[in-house]
Symmetry: C2
């Protein structure tokens, strides 16, 4: 029997630098993670174990180098207690968030504290060798700033914008990045970082994980995170765990049919949610409005941009008071909200977080979504439902990637 703290099925390639713990050690590590610094007395109170047992376990963990003694805590009468913490000198974790048009990376200590960040434009349609090679270079740059060797990387969490077969760490039929089909991402990283385990997940799943571990999703059992950008996807948390589904494709809501006579989607079907409402659709509706004379503001923007319009332009036009831009955003929000209403009835989340590029369209989009959800969901399912933008903004991905690595750092064996 093997289980992973904050677990999911097994899937780190060879679990190279996952640390294997007994169940009791696992429990202590869990407490140290939860409280960061904690005394033996605290642990005794929380576990109900004897002082002798705790001393024994602690000495072993300190000897293994996993735990270290910190300063003294506040006395509750008598000697000041010595505080214990996970040893942040163990090594480093890396978070890699690969987006359609950018890569975001972070280097953290084993407690998840971020030490360095790197971001740059990238094109995910390129070959994986190129994109991942650049990621490795950037990781080495961050390591150099710490004067550390690549072997000090213990684990790497990677988010990618496509469906992932989680147990294998591979993309399966990714529409945005066909060259990545079943590419061995883990092996690529492990050529440079030989001590590291590598865990790969879908980009929206790691955003949901970021909210669950570090954001407003802490303590929530059931929520969803929706990313609206070039496409639309969602990360799902059920009973406090990421729900990936039977084939790892859970959350692929961009291809739910919202209009049987709608436009052709890149997946080949008609009227998929993302074909009708995501970034490119919004830009296209705006371009049509510019061309057919129904919005002079959009027409002017298009002219200034050399015949193109982006979702940012649509947002700007709305803020300048353009009626057509507002209508387009409201339409998109309403259709997204109607689709979510079905999912709210089915899943009954307590929170729906929104992230991704299109969220810069602001409150108009959100209020249209809210209104449609409340109109069509059951009252019982919406009485405590919060619908809001993720307060993590564009950092959700890379924070989630670090959390993913952190979740797999320790393995508990019975």
């Amino acid at each position: 029997m093997q289980k992973i703290i904050n677990p999911s099925p097994s899937h780190t390639s060879q679990s190279s630098h996952s640390f294997v713990l007994t169940r009791d050690e696992g429990e202590i590590i869990q407490l140290l993670r939860q409280y960061d610094q904690i005394s033996r007395t605290d642990i005794a109170r929380m576990t109900g174990w004897s002082r002798a047992k705790i001393s024994l376990e602690m000495d072993l963990l300190i000897k293994k180098g996993l735990v270290k003694e910190m300063g003294e805590g506040i006395s509750e009468g008598g000697r000041k207690p010595r505080l214990l913490s996970i040893n942040d000198g163990l090594g480093f974790l890396v978070g890699v968030d690969i987006g359609a048009t950018s890569i975001d990376l972070a280097l953290s200590d084993v407690r998840g504290k971020i030490l360095h960040r790197k971001s740059e434009p990238a094109d995910v349609r390129e070959s994986p060798d190129l994109v991942l090679g650049r990621c490795c270079e950037l990781i080495c740059e961050m390591l150099a700033a710490q004067s550390a060797h690549p072997d000090k990387i213990l684990g790497i969490g990677v988010g990618v914008p496509g469906p992932v077969e989680f147990s294998k760490g591979m993309l399966v039929a990714p529409p945005l990045m066909p060259l990545w089909e079943r590419y061995p991402i883990r092996d690529f990283f492990r050529k440079t970082f030989r001590s590291a385990f590598v865990v790969v997940d879908n980009d929206v799943n790691i955003m949901a994980l970021a909210e669950l571990r570090e954001g407003d999703g802490r303590g929530l059992d059931h929520f969803i995170f929706i990313k609206i950008g070039t496409g639309i996807g969602c990360g799902i948390v059920s009973n406090g765990k990421i729900h990936r589904g039977a084939d790892g494709s859970a959350g692929d809501i961009g291809h739910i049919c919202v209009d049987k006579n709608g436009p052709v989607c890149r997946c080949g079907n008609l009227g998929c949610l993302e074909a009708v409402t995501a970034g490119p659709a919004i830009a296209e509706y705006a371009a049509n409005a510019a061309r057919d004379g129904s919005s002079s503001i959009l027409a002017k923007k298009m002219e200034n941009n050399g015949g193109k319009l982006s979702t940012e332009d649509v947002g700007a036009a709305m803020r300048e008071g353009d009626r057509k831009a507002l209508e387009i955003i409201q339409y998109s929000g309403r259709i997204i909200g109607e689709t979510l209403a079905s999912l709210v009835n089915f899943f009954n989340p307590s929170y729906i977080f929104f992230g991704g590029g299109v969220t810069n369209l602001g409150n108009q989009l959100l209020s249209s979504i809210r209104q449609a959800v409340l109109n069509r969901s059951l009252p019982l399912a919406t009485r405590h439902l919060v619908i809001d933008y993720s307060s993590m903004g564009p950092d959700a991905g890379v924070i989630g990637a670090i959390c993913l690595a952190k979740d797999h750092l320790f393995i508990v064996v019975n």
Copy 2:
């Protein structure tokens, strides 16, 4: 820290006859449940514990009366091992499945082996006192057949056809049974069965639980169970656990909008899935076909039934070759399937089980559902998806109610 074996949040009223176990005892009980009869050597192999520790734990469990020694197992060389089992003399569990028009009850031993069954018609629109009072009488009859006192009932699992606030064991705004709104079901049972804990859940959740513990859902991490009858609801399993959602209303898919201009639903909205496709809708389409002359077979059946048609009549007409009846069933299946396609994209289950009265419409319904799901879901989400009737038939509810009680019999405290 308190957790329940095969758990969910806490919710047995006062956990009267839940047995409180240490973590190690919990692990042994889990193994005894899994393998029914098992030797100390088997437990040593599976836990990695020493023989001394296992002997100590076992002696305590036997002393508490929770475990008993059975006959001898097969020798692997040397002395024949003595087999151990959970003590089935501890007491009894009860499963109560309250449907819209019937009650189904079962009495089992603590291992979940069903000893007696009772079923009879009932009308859930009646007062809860009346319906639950009758349940208590039937339970006492089953106990009498075992010459046992009501205090020997350790736990009662109850399924009800409406949304349940699981932590309180109460129905919230149940459309079928308004008199049950926030009625204290637990307290009612505990007046007669003073030693019993009572756990109340939605009827479709317990059907999903039955599949998860005892049916084709064993070993599956992610599946859904859909009941089609007077209404449509679904039970959801995520990561091997029942997903009840933030307010306990998860799975209420009957009120997903499938036609904005559709008929008025009993919830007040237009075009809800169940208003368009469930039993009453099918019967109404058939009655229309009988009246407007498009089906002579349905017209004849309606005449013979005194002006009424049931879903059974529609099924019979279809089997007699009636084209219109077939069309009605196919239409219902297609709309259900299109709705499920969205949920499959979102949730990515590996299995969709169907149960409930309408399932007697047979394979035509199922194949229409299948076709619509495969047409509109992503290939990755359907490559291993099985869509089939539950092989438990009408027993799923009562078996699930027993499983619910069994899940709460032992509580593990750290």
